[in-house]
Symmetry: C2
Subunit: 380 residues, 2 copies
């Protein structure tokens, strides 16, 4: 396995872009990443495009609009982890010597999706008939019962991420809320309220990865990928203890930490999949940022806020940067690249050296989902 580096990143602002095509969101991101990398775009030997609902050939259509034809392209879908899966494949392609420069990008335009998915294709647990907010509500209740978590803890996470995003010009929202406002917003699935859920978002994000053999050709600062792991979910039954960390996050996290040779305590900055604030709280435990049953302490003590020991989602996360499905995992990589290069102006984690990205895709496996990617990044 060769060392792999992030040579450049780029993304669109996340938000509602009803006037733009999915392709245009994609190529704005790709163009930015290629420019940031310093590589000529003809150097790219492989491209993976993550998306969920943009139709066949979106990767090729996007690159065609940039005149980037001929490059091998794979369109990948792993629910909300589609972008992360594209990143993982691009990493693997370079790590295993299949290419020296590769492109991972993701794109999603959700504002004009014409209708809901058929029920059998939607993110519903077939065994329980639960849609995603309902699944998160069950998990929330289990943590409340087992560990003394309160709805205020979830609200504080939402407040934190919205606070963070006021420093992120790419975020869908740059607006702060109080704990009371979060708690008093519309109930989606008790105790999950509207402001504890990610919004509907359009956007694109891209990253150019390269091998150590071509590193430095361009003179740009670099971030090294020290480990990346993809896993899928296992079945969750009625007897599952929902107050336990989800194995879908814990298994790739262990693999990525081991590959990287780092401990959770080494991590300086984290981007996690906060599709809801409930998810973020549970991921603290599954990622090893604290012991099981202690996530609420991290929240109360501000350890995951900017300035804390393990700042989580300095970008604003899915909750406030927004969640254009296929683009999200790559946007997390963009954010950590900027953080590790010291370029995250307005939301910079001081002297960040080790970063962790975590993105998971829900799905019919329900609480344990379809796919999860965890990767460890390091400042050079």
């Amino acid at each position: 396995m060769r060392d792999v580096y992030i040579a450049g990143v780029g993304m669109t602002t996340f938000g509602k872009h009803p006037e733009r095509s999915a392709e245009s969101l994609g190529w704005e991101a790709v163009r930015g990443a290629v420019k940031d990398s310093g590589f000529d775009r003809d150097r790219i030997g492989f491209a993976a495009c993550g998306h969920v609902r943009q139709g066949p050939g979106i990767g090729q259509r996007t690159l065609r609009d940039l005149g980037m034809t001929g490059v091998p392209v794979v369109n990948v879908e792993n629910a909300c982890a589609s972008g992360s899966t594209a990143f993982h494949l691009a990493w693997q392609t370079i790590a295993t010597g299949q290419a020296d420069v590769a492109l991972a990008f993701g794109v999603e335009k959700l504002t004009d999706i014409s209708g809901p998915l058929p029920l059998d294709q939607s993110l519903v647990m077939p065994s329980m008939g639960l849609v995603l907010p309902g699944q998160y509500a069950l998990i929330a209740r289990a943590h409340m019962e087992a560990h003394g978590v309160t709805p205020e803890h979830f609200a504080k996470i939402s407040v934190k991420n919205h606070d963070h995003s006021t420093g992120n010009p790419y975020a869908q929202y740059q607006k702060t809320f109080t704990v009371e406002e979060v708690l008093e917003s519309r109930v989606i699935a008790d105790p999950v309220t509207l402001l504890m859920c990610c919004p509907t978002t359009d956007g694109g994000a891209a990253a150019v990865l390269c091998s150590d053999e071509v590193l430095g050709e361009d003179g740009a600062p670099h971030v090294r990928i020290r480990g990346s792991a993809l896993r899928s979910g296992t079945l969750v039954g009625a007897d599952t203890d929902l107050s336990e960390p989800t194995s879908l996050t814990a298994r790739p996290a262990r693999a990525a930490y081991e590959m990287a040779g780092v401990e959770p305590s080494d991590v300086d900055v984290v981007e996690v999949h906060d599709a809801t604030a409930v998810g973020e709280l549970t991921h603290y435990e599954a990622l090893g940022l604290c012991e099981v049953g202690e996530a609420q302490r991290l929240v109360d003590e501000g350890e995951t806020a900017l300035g804390g020991r393990h700042p989580v989602n300095p970008s604003g996360g899915l909750l406030s940067r927004g969640h254009p499905l296929g683009a999200t995992g790559v946007a997390q990589v963009c954010e950590l690249t900027w953080q590790l290069r010291g370029e995250a102006h307005g939301r910079q984690v001081e002297d960040a050296r080790i970063g962790l990205v975590h993105c998971m895709g829900g799905g019919p496996n329900g609480l344990d989902g379809d796919a999860c990617v965890v990767a460890v990044l390091e400042r050079m």
Copy 2:
């Protein structure tokens, strides 16, 4: 790069299966391939699922129904080359040492797709507004003008593939036609007639691949993958000479031959992407089975029929085995595996040692498509 072997294959009958779910088509194929491989299904360390229109998470949903959870799954889409792309990724995963046993499968249920794709996501050349049969008709006309090809040549290819499929119990059709019947069937885009076009099909196909390190654990006969290459299309302009071999086929073919260390003349049996009979004729030249401008000679002399020098599509091809998009590329691998193991009863190419699979995905790049995979297989 490690040697990679095909340890087992399985597929459903192709055809109309209105009463079955896409998942059930998938798991019938996967179950067959796993059983054929002799490996315990828990040995599978990676799975790639090719599909075009089966919705998010189809790979995970299919495997979940078999109790195969936890395995890393990537859902891939590359238009009609989706299954081939899944095969290519599974090959690459083993070749590069990421897993010892991997699963490639494809599934598509087209009979109950609820409506056409939005125009901007369909397989239309945006610069010319041409749907696929129209593109093939242009190519046909160019070959007729430049090389003296006649509609009878296309009809003969359809007759040949329908003849072949009478020996294939997995084929959608087991019915022969005369040249006259093909020519007199309904005109789709002159000179392309209905019987020169592939039908609408449901089906699943799967292959279990393994490294040399675990080879022989199961005692089953094996086929070695000597080379596999994925490429994407380049733009086609109004000044393109459509009588030339498409570069989308020629480029991965050259790469696969080079990786395999074989020449086109070494190839004993071929499965090509005959979405139309016109396509098959042009692929003869792009794959190097003959010189440019000589494809019609192969047809006239029966060189690509069973018993000829280069039997093409002994399965019946897309034209008669059928074309369930994401399953097709994997079904081609199933057929060649059976051929190389001497198990293609009723359509066996005698003493076949080297096989070639070719599958391409059309798309908005139009005549030059989104993706093409060519792989060289060898009998052990």
